[in-house]
């Protein structure tokens, strides 16, 4: 591993100052579950490493009005054990609880997961399903943007919009209400310490009559960023949610995956077929939650 200068700032202001000073030559270390491996394997060779673990103020799950705000340094363990997230945001609780292993969940952070923006990032899939937004901060000031826009951006790396002097401080999203159900399923080669084959998220909001007024379906590992199942979402909106309606979307999922992955013939067959099985599991979870809610 190449030698590097190491800083462990105690305040966000200090961290932003260091990023401003070192810019592109600096790498941020949050949980270290990605960057330490990348550095060990020689894929990344920063001159400066800024360890932000001491910025404890950035680790929180906070409800403000109708929104849930999660600090960038919040670990997957904190997220998956948070009572509000477990109760209200199953898609995120489930995704967070399936990341790596207990050791990785105790170190890995949601901010790191979104900033690394891996194809297989389960946090990315869950947050995209929730239509989350991210907050980026620097000495120049704060800005926020939808996660989709963040992932489309061209910043210091081609992965996302993060600029060389910026640090992600928060991710936030609309708290699912009593008429909203969410679910996540991780299809993987084994039950822990596994990179997702498909990390699928789903959100359905209904009105008092059970008519779908909002739907969000995103499948991780099916495209560079979680695949957006637009046709399936449109099929649901305006109709009464039932198992039949949900299953009508299966061919749309199949076709969307085929379109996205057809250039990779070795994986497209399995993915276009298995995505249907994955979503069938999500449909069951969504219906169970919605039915439970109707008795509230």
């Amino acid at each position: 591993m190449k030698a590097f200068e190491f800083f462990a700032p105690k305040t966000l202001a200090e961290a932003k100052g260091l990023l401003n000073q070192y810019g592109e030559s600096a790498a941020i270390l949050a949980g270290g579950t990605d960057i330490v491996i990348e550095m060990n394997e020689g894929h990344r060779k920063p001159d400066v490493v800024i360890d932000i673990k001491k910025l404890k103020d950035l680790a929180y799950v906070r409800i403000e009005g109708s929104k849930i705000h999660i600090g960038a340094l919040t670990t997957f363990e904190m997220i998956s054990s948070d009572p509000v997230i477990r109760e209200r945001v199953r898609v995120l609780a489930e995704a967070a609880s399936k990341v790596g292993s207990p050791q990785i969940r105790s170190l890995g952070t949601i901010g790191g997961n979104l900033a690394t923006a891996s194809v297989a990032g389960d946090g990315v899939s869950a947050m995209m399903t929730l239509n989350a937004s991210v907050v980026l901060d620097s000495v120049r000031g704060q800005r926020q943007m939808p996660l989709a826009e963040f992932l489309d951006g061209q910043g210091v790396s081609s992965r996302n919009a993060l600029l060389a002097d910026e640090i992600m401080t928060e991710v936030f999203f609309e708290m699912p209400d009593n008429h909203t159900a969410t679910a996540f399923y991780k299809l993987a080669k084994r039950k822990s310490l596994a990179i997702s084959v498909i990390g699928a998220g789903m959100l359905v909001q209904v009105d008092g009559a059970g008519i779908c007024i909002k739907a969000s379906m995103r499948g991780g590992c099916l495209a560079r960023y979680p695949l957006h199942f637009k046709a399936a979402e449109e099929h649901l909106i305006g109709n009464k949610i039932s198992i039949d309606l949900l299953e009508e979307t299966l061919p749309m999922l199949h076709d969307a995956v085929y379109e996205s992955a057809k250039s990779r013939p070795w994986s497209v067959f399995y993915k276009k077929e298995s995505v249907q099985g994955v979503y069938r599991k999500l449909f069951a979870a969504i219906l169970e939650q919605l039915n439970g809610k109707s008795y509230e």
Binding site: K191, S192, L193, A194, F269, Y270, G277, V278
Partner: protein, 327 residues
């Protein structure tokens, strides 16, 4: 399943040394390498039982080519049978000297004595007894030393090169494994739920370790069937997944409920009738899992591993074939 213990149709001996010291403890030395299966513990138990000493009194030096005799490879499920018998023979030689001195002291014949729990006692008269410490003091006074060396080579014959006839193994282990799986026909995921694996071990030397080997074998076989594959580069023949983040084996969460059953048969030439369980633990789970998947899907698989994509492909193929049949 039935499976031969030891190298196939070849001489494959192992040896051991033992000395019982003046303080009624023993030094035991053998070459067998303990790679986690517990041969060090097993041999210590065999020596303790043979010498009539408690387990704690036996000190072990193993797998050190400067001082220990050759044990051959820790492979072929062979160490309990072969090094075990070598240890037994070494202990019997040392015991012959001990028994002679004890018999003279107690006024009886050597074959009338039982060595057990750090004591030597006349078999049909418990009042005729002496402690091991007294025995070792008598040995010292008589100027004798309790040493033994033993080796064992299983009785086999070279196999006929034309028809492979002959005696390839001296001892066979037998096993039956049953497993229950849940197969998701849409995602191809296989959940191994429950495994019962019964093994004829001849004589159990250490129950926890034998059960542990069976459990380990089950998980290893599960990986063989469902997860493990060496990916080789077509360009230069290098292995593309030489690290455990890419070469997938079962994690703890994948491990099924495992019920090992130890069956004690008449045994045979092994120490106290013991056989090997190292490889037998692994083998029968492999066809058991495949058979369970085939039973669930009513399709056949003829190669390993069986990946989720293979299952989905087989299910699709069967659906298409069934449809054609009905048309």
């Amino acid at each position: 399943m039935w499976y031969g213990i030891g190298n196939t149709g070849l001489p494959n001996p192992a040896a051991a040394f033992v000395e019982v010291l003046g303080d009624a403890t023993a030094n035991l030395m053998f070459g067998a390498a303990d790679i986690g299966q517990g041969s060090g513990t097993t041999m210590t138990q065999i020596a303790a039982e043979a010498l009539g000493l408690s387990y704690e009194k036996v000190r072990v030096t193993w797998g050190d080519t400067r001082v220990t005799p050759d044990g051959g490879a820790t492979s072929a499920s062979r160490q309990t049978l072969i090094t075990g018998n070598a240890v037994l023979k070494a202990c019997e030689q040392a015991k012959e000297t001990l028994a002679g001195v004890a018999a003279a002291y107690l006024g009886c014949q050597p074959e009338e004595l039982e060595f057990s729990q750090n004591t030597v006692t006349k078999i049909d008269d418990a009042t005729v007894t002496m402690t091991y410490k007294t025995l070792m003091a008598e040995m010292k006074a008589a100027g004798k030393m309790a040493v033994g060396a033993g080796y064992y080579n299983p009785t086999t014959t070279t196999l006929d090169p034309n028809d492979m006839s002959g005696i390839p193994y001296e001892v066979y282990s037998y096993a039956t494994t049953i497993c229950e799986v849940e197969v998701d026909t849409e995602t191809g995921e296989v959940d191994v739920l429950k495994v019962v694996s019964a093994h004829d071990v001849g004589q159990t030397i250490n129950q926890s370790m034998a059960e542990g080997q069976i459990e380990g074998g089950v998980v290893m076989g599960q990986g063989f069937v469902l997860m493990e594959e060496i990916e080789v580069s077509e360009k230069d023949g290098s292995i593309k997944n030489p690290i455990f983040s890419k070469y997938i084996i079962p994690s703890n969460l994948d491990v099924p409920e495992i019920y090992p059953i130890l069956v004690e048969s008449e045994g045979g030439p092994g120490p106290f009738g013991a056989k090997g369980v190292g490889e037998p633990a692994l083998i029968p789970i492999i066809p058991a899992i495949v058979a369970a998947i085939e039973d669930a899907l009513n399709v056949q698989f003829t190669k390993l591993p069986v990946f989720p994509k293979d299952i989905v492909a087989a299910v699709k193929e069967k659906e298409a074939a069934d449809k054609n049949k009905n048309n």
